[in-house]
Symmetry: C2
Subunit: 586 residues, 2 copies
């Protein structure tokens, strides 16, 4: 990607906007409209999940989408509020302010701005690789764990009761159980019906549409409008039967018409410090979700995305969200798929969605006041229920016990200690697991194959070894996690073989030696010399040798030598008089 | 080491104590005596550095040494108080209690017990590999940074003034500068003289002894008694000239004669929580120092140490320290070298030192009351001054800019934010640096060498490539840090080459694929298929294939195949009709 000029890299819209092709317009408009229909109920529901008044979901779906459309490298990704990020927002802010309060809203904007700044900086310094911290078992465990939490958090709306979320996840459950005796049966009935209908829309309805002759693609798009239809039906039911005033069904209520103004998030340093871990968790989780969706969709049209520029685009979108009354956003999976399937060709589709959401916010807001909360909760529940995946736990366990345990640990940490700490535990555990693996590299004792110049593992081949001479191949780069293990194993050989005079390390598969590896080699040279053994190297690759030369390792090695091949080392070191011996395992 | 029965592994003294060889006795006794002479001033000085009354240094040098002598796998390592661990102790405890107070002493014992329990548990679950978290640049930076801090902390004793250490390191400096106007000139004179004498003992005196015919070894041992002689001289000077009462030279003062009783450290959970990071830092730093000394000395006699059992032995020693009025201990560098050079053959030498220190505590304590603090401070300063190593910073920078920057960052963090956070920053930065490196693995596009079955990097060799067929070799294990990078690079090839139909990944140098790698391969199969490209694998190693089979990757791959060799893949995929093309760079 380095051949592209900087302005093109940082402003990807220069690639399509100034010579926009007319044939792309129909697809972009259609996709923009359909995504809007899908996004309205989603944005309201996720605002509720994030502990914010519903209109903030709409606010977060205007400017951020417009900006991502200009700066994103994925042409079909649909940015906006998503479930997991909304949960992270709620968890981060609840300790500092009452959900829905003025203070809470300000903090949500601050969190969005912080997330955005971190993403922008990471993207500009090309630090996107830190997303690698989230290994697959951690992501899978995090998604299953947080989906369970989200599901539990929405049950109170289905029951029509009030229940505090509590500091630790289990408190939400006990609070809910206590509150359950006040269940509003009309609300519960509506909730159950809404969930049933949404599940019907999700699959059976789509199949039905296909059976009556619609293409899979069209059927999928129509089915996705289900939640919006449900919202309309819910509002109609409330209006017709006065469900709110007569039966106590909670509705969204009045909210201000008009677009959000440009507001500065408050800059309170201690608060910024306390929100930092949450912002970091949102940066990582949001980026991983967004990029993996972007990559999948890109591949279908042989387009690539540029991960660091994605960070820049998401960062700009989040900063904008922080200044225009929103909360943290990222690329969402289901919306992006719909955008793609509906024919989005360029970022223009996202920009059209942004404009339409602004129009809705200005014109339709009064209608939304009678929208029942239980319908939004049902939308969230059906969305996250599909993300709970215990099958993956079993599959990972089958593939690798360590990775399975890692996913299990992440789920338990998220459920028991909350989402932020859960991610932290998962990341820490995967690094330790990796170090435990990489810390014990494969090493083979070599012997000569017949009279050839080939040397192979004595455990697998019929080979000849030489008394007093140990040939060892290290099958891993030398770096801080494995140097001590390699040292110990070498010193064990020395302790076990009293007649040992020379050790030749074959660096045939060593591509990199970090300074810990260098230090370890220098210590080994001295330690082996103290034990009367000389260390030699063989088959050292060019770049590795260049570094060694910078610090004079060769002089340090003397009388040990660097041989071009293991064969030359053997010829030089066995002497002519010494006889070859049959192979033996060390 | 697995062939050894468990009791032998956990109780290494069974190896030498029950059939103790008479010829080892002279060496063990001599070493025990000489180490005692060296340890007395050191233990007093390090107790002072740790913020404890001097007698606690002696207490920490009795039972822990005895226990390490029994349980340690290094026969010559000398355990006891060391400079860096004492500094870590002081930093950890100062926020909670006034140095020297009852409360402070209790906390020091608690910290020792916590350190011990963590080490014991880590050793028993064979988790010693977590010491790999400390890469060489971090250790080197930490030692230089903390030595500077120790040096500054002792200057107040040299000036004979009172100055608080402050929460952050820079405060110690400002406090010292303010206090400097009250400098006691007699104390300053004594301090300067003591430092000069100690420096003289360190090298010129040893050279002198060698010139008059003593062996290097004997000269070294005699020179090492310098600090003890200085202590005696200091006490004599104070007694003769009443330096304490007439000139205000601070002395150690009266301390209780008698051995410490068996005390339980207090179990206050919130305090334990707050001390945990310090305990962890002490575990890591203490273990790394100890094991690296043990390894060096072991090699000289072709003996090995067992890292996990070392953790058990250090853990038991620290728990004992916590229960017998001590503070955290570990294997010290200079003392162990003296122990070794003086002829220590078994753990008995340590046990003799322990008994002698107990005798000193019982009998000589009254003499020590007139010991001037400034002499102890001089001892500490000369000991740590030798550890400050900025040359290593330059050398690392020359070897690898990243590793040099890492050492510099660690020094600055230790100086600016304190030792614990400094270690944390260093560990975090080395993991990120490693991920940034490992996250971009080497990948080579392969072509056929002539009409042979060999395939080589097209950038380095004259080879033949085939249209529509991309042969790629990944030179790294597939794991969470690099999967996304590999995916992106593969998708870029696809985006660039419109005619691409098949990709063959050669797994020739892949020894391990973690579940993130598996997930990534599965995603790639789908994404490439969406782009009209089929993914194949070649040269998959046995253990990797076994795991793939457990989760049915082969079925997932279809119509892609797993080929035994790149050559077979080419024969199967290029078809007979297609002509070979000359090499070109991708």
């Amino acid at each position: 990607m380095n051949k592209i000029p900087v302005y093109k890299r940082l402003l990807p819209f220069t690639d399509w906007l100034f010579h926009y092709k007319r044939e792309n317009l129909t697809g972009d408009i259609l996709a923009g409209v359909i995504v809007t229909i899908m996004l309205i109920p989603q944005s309201l529901a996720y605002a509720m999940l994030a502990g914010l008044p519903p209109e903030y979901g709409l606010y977060a779906s205007i400017v951020p989408l417009f900006i991502y459309g200009l700066l994103g490298t994925s042409r079909t990704l649909s940015v906006g509020p998503v479930a997991v990020i909304s949960l992270l927002t709620a968890t981060a802010l609840t300790p500092f302010a009452a959900p829905g309060s003025e203070e809470y809203i300000k903090l949500a904007m601050l969190l969005a701005a912080m997330t955005g700044v971190i993403q922008l900086v990471l993207g500009l310094i090309r630090g996107g690789f830190i997303a690698s911290l989230l290994s697959h078992p951690v992501v899978a465990g995090f998604i299953t764990g947080s989906s369970l939490l989200i599901l539990v958090s929405q049950l109170k709306h289905i029951l029509g009761v009030k229940a505090a979320s509590g500091h630790l996840p289990y408190e939400a459950v006990t609070n809910l159980v206590q509150a359950a005796r006040d269940t509003n049966l009309v609300t519960l009935g509506m909730g159950t019906l809404a969930i049933a209908l949404l599940l019907f829309f999700r699959k059976p309805f789509r199949k039905l549409l296909q059976r009556i002759g619609l293409s899979e693609n069209v059927a999928q798009i129509i089915a996705r409008t289900g939640p919006a239809l449900l919202v309309v039906a819910g509002m109609a039911a409330v209006a017709l039967f006065s469900l709110d005033s007569s039966y106590g069904v909670k509705v969204v209520g009045e909210f201000p018409t008009g677009l959000p103004g440009l507001t500065l998030p408050s800059l309170d340093l201690p608060v910024i410090g306390s929100l930092a871990p949450a912002a970091l968790a949102i940066v990582l989780a949001g980026y991983v979700e967004s990029v993996s969706v972007g990559r999948s969709l890109g591949a279908k049209r042989r387009q690539t995305i540029e991960p660091n520029q994605e960070l820049v685009a998401l960062g700009a979108a989040n900063v904008a969200s922080g200044f225009t009354g929103g909360f943290p956003v990222t690329g969402g999976f289901s919306r992006s798929v719909v955008n793609f399937d509906a024919g989005a060709n360029t970022g223009l589709a996202s920009m059209i969605t942004a404009v339409l959401i602004a129009v809705v916010t200005l014109s339709l807001a009064p209608l939304l006041k009678s929208l029942p909360q239980v319908v939004l909760a049902a939308t969230v529940i059906v969305a996250v229920a599909g993300l709970i995946n215990f099958k993956e736990l079993l599959r990972l366990w089958k593939y690798s016990k360590g990775d399975g345990a890692l996913m299990g640990l992440t789920i338990l940490s998220v459920l028991g200690l909350g989402v932020e700490i859960g991610i932290g535990v998962g990341v820490g555990a995967s690094l330790l697991l990796y170090l435990a693996r990489a810390g014990r590299p494969h090493m083979a004792v070599l012997g000569r194959v017949g009279e050839s110049e080939h040397f192979r593992n004595i455990k697998r081949h019929e080979v000849t070894t030489y008394p007093g001479l140990l040939l060892l191949r290290v099958d891993e780069n030398l770096f801080f996690a494995n140097t001590r293990n390699i040292e110990d194993r070498l010193l064990e050989y020395v302790a076990e073989q009293a007649d040992l005079k020379h050790i030749v390390l074959s660096f045939n598969s060593v591509n990199y030696v970090d300074s810990s590896g260098l230090e370890s080699l220098e210590a080994l040279i001295v330690r082996l010399r103290d034990a009367g053994v000389t260390l030699h190297l063989a088959e050292v690759k060019g770049p590795v040798m260049d570094r060694f030369d910078k610090v004079g390792l060769t002089e340090h090695l003397a009388p040990g030598q660097v041989f071009l091949s293991t064969h030359r080392a053997v010829v030089a070191l066995r002497g002519d008089s010494k006889p070859a011996e049959p192979a033996r395992a060390a």
